[in-house]
Assembly symmetry: none
Homo-oligomer: 232 residues x 2
Amino acid sequence: MQAEERQAKIEAYLQRSEFASLEELAQHVGVSTSTVRRDLATLEAGKTIRRTHGGARSLQPSKSDEFVFNVRDTHQVAEKERLGEACAALIQPGQNVIIDSGTTCFHVAKRLDDKVAQIITNSLPVANLFSASVRHEVHLSGGVIYPRLGTLVGPHAVETFSRMHADVAILSGSGISSEGIYNSHALIVDIQRAMMAGAAKVIFCLDHTKFGRRSTFFPQCCPIRVVCESPK
Amino acid sequence: MQAEERQAKIEAYLQRSEFASLEELAQHVGVSTSTVRRDLATLEAGKTIRRTHGGARSLQPSKSDEFVFNVRDTHQVAEKERLGEACAALIQPGQNVIIDSGTTCFHVAKRLDDKVAQIITNSLPVANLFSASVRHEVHLSGGVIYPRLGTLVGPHAVETFSRMHADVAILSGSGISSEGIYNSHALIVDIQRAMMAGAAKVIFCLDHTKFGRRSTFFPQCCPIRVVCESPK
DNA sequence: AAAGTTTTGGAAGGTTTTGGCAACAATTGC
DNA sequence: GCAATTGTTGCCAAAACCTTCCAAAACTTT
């Protein structure tokens, strides 16, 4: 990859996540931190971004930062990053994946990069993440936007997934106990069922706060038990 | 292969992928890197591309430049704002509307505010605009994201609109002549047909640059003639 | 068919870019 | 307010890349 392409990629990445660390950017574009530093210096000269300690931030904030989940996502961010990393490692290059909505799944999506070419999702933030990429084919489910989460829900969304197939589905949940996996919205549970039915392999991504916790509604009925483990 | 043919091939390749390495291009056209270098030098002299370290980049990234969606686009922004204002004024409060993709329609969406409660769209930027609002019910069509436009296209998107009904549909186009309204993309035309079929009233929103201009492809076949006029 | 012209592929040498390292500055935790 | 941690700058060697040149191949002209 050449310098300009890399810089464009960095700029695009920053516009979506507002702020990114040097390490994160280096990994995203696949070069050393030294090179990212130089790129950031160039971009800063072009007034498109601003460098900060430990990374950089976009001057023209993204459209997707209105989503509350990005804003309130400041704690446990390190754990979720690791979780995303670990979960992305379970994906084989070239597979097509279904990605659920939610912060945890969003972090997985950030780590997928060029590993996957086909992405099926009902998450607006995930769609925004890949919307500018010519290397990805992103299939967004139809449906009604659930305000502030940026998730597409409703019969239309369910139908989309019941008609599609993927190698892997990456799902999130709000609790897990010996009885199964829980989620807190009936509408989302319906969609998850369709996602599971349409995928050869299902990965649930849950951070440590979800363990042993039963969420308010709707235990998830599924025969699969996959745990995405993140080193503490 | 002839030199000119090769150069045309390189140019086309670059317009699709924006960036390409020397190696990539050499492989694509089946010649040595030396030859590609010479071709790039020739093309650069013709101002169609720009060489970079390790490859080249296209100067006109997309042929249908008018369709590259850019929210922070400063081009004719004042006119589009007025157009959006004028067009939004044609909507009765409480109506539900279908909104097409494209910059012009995006400006209409910005002016809708609380006037409408139900919005049906295939535009990712429009969806993002209302995604945080609890006062709007936004129905996003399914489909595949057309890169860089943020538009959902494909059979899934067409199907969504053919199954929905709205009071008004706000559409955009890339040209209008006595023969009809043009659009530059077959995939988008399919969707627009479905949008028109599903709406009681259709409004086409076109800025002055589109008048008397026939776009490259696909004249729009519709019996409706509504002009959204913007004072000069 | 032979000589001349153009184009092509490859190699040598100079230039830019990259990645890592050490010294310095900023931030954090106590 | 001080030590520890983390990030930054400047620098150097290695790698990648570009330019220039040359000989072979392909095409034209005679």
